[in-house]
């Protein structure tokens, strides 16, 4: 039988459109492969077999009837379990939402369905996306397909792992401080956080609303671009979604980088960065130079203040967003309580995990009377300084290239007892959330232990095309797709 998994988004659509394979066959093949590798990877909260097969049947029916097929016709996609999927439980990795079944689709999910995508699974994550390893999940903890003793990264660890393990060609994640790019980097796949406002957040379970942005993970930069083109754009249901026209991102992929000025910030090659990460990223920079780009050393002087500012801002917003979990309208309600007030306290105690409670309290503290000016307002002012750093840099360069994370995937449990150490794995990614900038991580090499290393490309606001162009050009040179994780990305012979 011809191989149906291990293909790109456009290749799968081509199979469906040409009739070489049905959407149902493709869906079945991916689910079968997912079931084969899931015992090792544990990236899926749920595999939505029956609804996926129904959707696939509908696509096949459309084809037979000669109706037009969407840009993602028959393409299996996984969705981070923080995005609402109508009729399929959506937990955000939390006990408090364990039984929550959305009655509507997130806008990005609805747009995927309208484009013909088949939603095959919901993926595991850190509870409410609060973490950098997906170990803060109340449920299964995804493992890294390159080394299952290591984390897949977080918080969209499940979405990165399912793509790396070949369970789906593409997945949606969400990125508040690096939650798409860092796991993509750890799992050796491209992952993009678009500009703030590029994709509607309607139906994304909120963590920090001024930083959250839906992102895409794929097997290739082209896949990432195709999915982004479908989900991007203004949505009346999200007032912060931008009315900026959505270009055809795939046309950006063919251009080269000749003559581009690429900024290399000194501050991103200091601190805890490992020797192997630095050398892989620097080798890629030389490759960019060979392709005609010029490298410009730049300074983003407030980089070291980004993580502390981020943890003030993100936790303040989280404490406010998570106040809605009160056991009244949805979510967990404690049993046997004597009155309304104790219901609030008990339900939240039972429903939230340790890290979530820590962040709610940190956010409550920085917003409380007497501390607001010294902490919350201070954090927001530092955010302005970080934005200004980037604005100044982009006067002189077209894009900025950095490592995605200072280290490759770390071992499970390694940072679990030390929140601060965990926070620092986002040191190179939080800056662009604070500034609202688009960024992508692409795999640029392997360590001696065969762990992927990610290169991050950041662009000015709403310049996704430029970021994708650079990513695609470097991807062609790097040929990372020759490398495969040891967890089979193709099903065994049948």
């Amino acid at each position: 039988m011809k191989e149906l998994t291990n293909r790109t988004v456009s290749a799968i659509r081509e199979l469906v459109v040409s009739g070489q394979a049905s959407a149902v066959e493709i869906c079945r093949a991916h689910i079968e492969h997912a079931r084969a590798v899931e015992p090792q990877i544990q990236a899926c909260r749920a595999i939505l077999e029956s609804s996926a097969l129904e959707e696939a049947k509908r696509i096949d029916g459309d084809r037979r009837a000669g109706r037009p097929l969407g840009p993602l016709a028959g393409v299996p996609v996984a969705i981070k379990d923080a995005l609402c999927t109508r009729g399929a439980p959506t937990t955000a990795g939390s006990r408090i939402l364990e039984k929550f079944v959305p009655t509507y689709d997130a806008t990005c999910v609805r747009r995927l369905r309208e484009a013909g995508a088949v939603i095959v699974s919901k993926t595991n994550l850190d509870e409410f996306a609060m973490g950098s390893s997906s170990e803060n999940s109340a449920f299964e903890i995804p493992r890294n397909p390159w080394d299952t003793s290591r984390v897949a990264g977080g918080s969209s660890g499940g979405s990165a792992a399912v793509v790396a393990a070949g369970e789906v060609p593409a997945a949606l994640g969400a990125d508040t401080g690096g939650s798409v790019r860092q796991p993509a980097s750890f799992c050796g796949v491209p992952g993009m956080k678009p500009s703030y406002g590029r994709v509607s957040r309607y139906g994304l379970i909120a963590f920090a609303s001024s930083l959250d942005q839906v992102g895409t993970i794929g097997r290739t930069v082209e896949d990432v671009a195709r999915i982004l083109g479908v989900i991007a754009g203004r949505d009346p249901c999200d007032a912060t979604s931008a009315a900026v026209p959505v270009p055809d991102y795939t046309t950006a992929l063919t251009g080269g980088i000749d003559g581009m000025r690429l900024g290399v910030p000194t501050e991103y090659f200091m601190g805890g960065i490992t020797r192997e990460v630095e050398s892989a990223v620097r080798a890629t920079l030389r490759l960019a130079e060979e392709k005609g780009a010029s490298l410009v050393e730049i300074s983003l002087p407030h980089t070291e203040y980004a993580v502390p500012a981020y943890y003030i801002i993100a936790t303040a917003e989280a404490s406010s967003n998570l106040a809605r979990y009160d056991g009244v309208r949805y979510g967990h309600r404690a049993e046997g309580v004597r009155d309304l007030s104790s219901m609030y306290f008990q339900s939240r105690r039972e429903g939230f995990g340790q890290e979530v409670k820590l962040r709610i309290m940190l956010g409550t503290y920085v917003l409380s009377a007497g501390y607001y000016d010294a902490s919350s307002l201070k954090g927001q002012k530092v955010r302005t300084m970080i934005r200004n750093d980037f604005e100044k840099a982009f006067e002189n360069v077209d894009a900025i290239l950095t490592p995605t994370s200072p280290t490759p995937a770390f071992r499970r449990g390694e940072k679990l007892d030390d929140p601060l150490a965990m926070y620092l794995s986002d040191v190179f990614t939080v800056t662009s959330n604070l500034a609202g900038l688009p960024g992508i991580s692409i795999p640029c090499g392997l360590t001696d232990d065969r762990l992927p290393i990610g290169l991050q490309i950041l662009g000015p606001n709403f310049q996704e095309e430029r970021v994708l162009r650079i990513a695609a050009a470097l991807e062609r040179e790097l040929q990372f797709d020759r490398e495969r994780p040891p967890v089979p990305s193709t099903p065994p012979d049948r």
Binding site: K99, F100, V101, T103, Y104, Y196, G197, S210, P236, A239, T240, H302, E304, Y305, P308, A309, Y311, I312, S319, A323, G327, V328, R329, Y330, G331, H332, V337, R338, D339, L340, S341, S342, M343, F345, R348, R349, F352, Q354, K357, L358, I360, M361, L362, T364, Y365, S368, S375, L377, K378, G379, Q380, K381, V382, R383, M385, R387, P419, L420, A435, G436
Partner: protein, 95 residues
């Protein structure tokens, strides 16, 4: 900065969280260490800098004042832990 157990209690009350005995100690320790770390922001002079609360201006998001459909009542109640006669039901308000 050292956060005492009393302060953890005060914050937990504000956040509507019940904590266990062990959690008081854990969070006192973790909050202290994170706030120590965050204190490095004090090294920066932010005098005259405008705060950034949000990246995009949302002033253009008003729509016409027309009546539109919304989530059907049954949908809104579908996930309610308890409901009665089309309403959310909660335990008694006064203990």
């Amino acid at each position: 900065m050292s956060i005492t157990r009393d302060e953890v209690h005060r914050i937990a009350q504000l956040a509507h969280l019940d904590l266990s005995e062990e959690e008081y100690d854990l969070y006192a320790r973790q909050l202290s260490s994170i706030l120590d770390y965050v204190e490095q922001l004090d090294r920066l002079n932010t005098y005259g800098i405008e705060p950034t609360a949000h990246i995009v201006a949302t002033s253009d998001s008003l729509r016409g004042d027309e009546v539109r459909g919304s989530i059907p009542r049954d949908d809104a109640l579908a996930n309610a832990p308890e409901s009665e006669q089309g309403l959310f039901k909660v335990p008694r308000v006064l203990g």
